[in-house]
């Protein structure tokens, strides 16, 4: 149960002989082994019927839909296997208790800064002098401890991220100018890569939250209800540096993306289909990487870490065991 399938072709996804198959517009038939599937990511124009939806539902497989411009546009989720009124009650209680909510929010920001810092340290050790950014992140990390409100925590996280993004222009090779984060729509190649990567992180976290009884709309750092699944936004912040940013650096520094992989028009820069495919491949390889987990005493994939994060939060809410957000330890 950990394979993601990315469909870039146009065609039809259907149930066939107890598994799922894709029939492309050129009438090519490709089979997707259902038993190990975690989710289908639809990037092309795909038709499907209720029969395949029920079948995916039976197998607990989600379908994440991406729009024409790389943006996540929604998911068709399997019926909730886990339902627990108690979990939702505790989740809301923690949200409603200002002190409790603040504590979880601070913990998430603390972990995010740690993970951004890990990337900076990596490049600091490789011929770049990034001491001032490291200092800035360390100061933000001290600040977060004393943040009194959630807005303040958001502010600290925003300024940490700004300091962190400041190093991108130093690390990225010529031809890849970043100049700060812009989205809706992304204005250059680097921003389009980050946008696409972050939407993949987000969709994978939506799947991970679904595996628990947590309600994806009740969040702690982000304000709930304003945007889609705000709990997924909370947890995605922790993983963006480890997943999105590292994949961006890797692809760009290795020269695996060319101008043909981007489409620029009207102040926007978006990935083309081949660009998205290259990115998704590298992203999936990263999700498949494994690491020895000190507490679970076994090797787990990066993808599984997303699920662990949802489990940890749920356990914290139900048992009061302290929540310690994901901090890259390797």
């Amino acid at each position: 149960m950990n394979d993601n399938y990315h469909i870039f072709s146009d065609g039809r996804v259907e149930r066939h002989n107890d598994t799922v198959r894709l029939v492309t517009d050129d009438d090519e038939k490709k089979y997707l082994p259902i038993e190990n599937a975690e989710a289908l990511f639809l990037h092309g124009q795909i038709d499907f019927n209720t029969r395949v939806i029920s079948f995916l539902d039976d197998h607990g497989v989600a379908m994440h839909v991406f729009g024409w411009n790389d943006y996540y546009s929604g998911s068709i989720m399997p019926e909730r296997g886990q339902t627990s009124g108690q979990t939702v009650v505790e989740q809301v209680r923690a949200y409603d208790d200002e002190a409790h909510r603040g504590k979880i929010a601070r913990e998430i920001v603390d972990g995010s800064i740690h993970n951004m810092r890990a990337n900076v340290t990596y490049y600091d050790n490789r011929d770049y002098d990034l001491d001032s950014t490291l200092d800035a992140l360390d100061r933000r990390r001290e600040e977060i401890q004393s943040a009194e409100s959630v807005e303040e925590a958001m502010g600290v996280e925003a300024s940490a991220r700004r300091a962190y993004y400041g190093i991108f222009d130093q690390i990225l090779p010529e031809g890849f100018v970043f100049g700060g984060r812009k989205y809706n729509p992304p204005n250059n190649k680097v921003n389009s890569l980050i946008s696409f990567g972050n939407s993949l992180v987000y969709a994978n976290i939506v799947s991970a939250i679904r595996a628990t009884a947590l309600d994806p709309t009740i969040s702690y750092l982000h304000e709930p209800g304003e945007r889609r699944y705000s709990l997924a936004l909370d947890l995605a912040d922790l993983f963006k540096p480890v997943l999105t940013d590292r994949v961006v650096f890797r692809l760009v520094n290795r020269g695996q993306l060319s101008d043909d992989d981007f489409d620029s028009e009207m102040n926007a820069c978006l990935l083309t289909e081949t660009g998205r495919e290259t990115f998704s491949k590298e992203f999936e390889q990263t999700l498949d990487r494994t690491i020895e987990h000190p507490r679970l005493n076994r090797k787990v994939s990066y993808q599984y870490l997303l699920r662990v994060e949802a489990y940890k939060l749920k356990k914290h809410l139900l048992t009061g065991e302290p929540y310690e957000s994901f901090e890259r330890w390797w």
């Binding site: 990315h6 469909i7 870039f8 107890d18 492309t24 089979y31 259902i34 038993e35 190990n36």
Partner: protein
């Protein structure tokens, strides 16, 4: 997770059965040959099911590797496992 290669030799009119069954778990690489990474649990399920599907004179062989890293695999011509996750 384990990496398996499954090959079967069954009556011509019954190959479809095995094909359809194994497609749920593995990638179809050649006539009567499947491979892929699966969980230990799924492997047990596959073995049990295949065993019950067999008739006299037919056989299935499942090669099991503890990981894909232990497989040295060279493909001449087109590799059907290429990008099986990116369609």
């Amino acid at each position: 997770m384990v990496y398996v290669v499954a090959v079967y030799d069954v009556e011509a009119d019954r190959t479809r059965l095995f094909l359809n069954f194994l497609r749920r778990y593995l990638t179809h690489v050649q006539n009567s040959v499947f491979e892929g990474e699966i969980t230990e649990g799924d492997l047990e399920e596959i073995k049990r099911e295949l065993d019950s599907m067999l008739e006299a004179g037919e056989s299935v062989i499942v090669y099991r590797m503890s990981s894909e890293q232990y497989v040295s695999r060279t493909v001449y011509g087109e590799d059907p496992t290429d990008d099986s996750h990116f369609l």
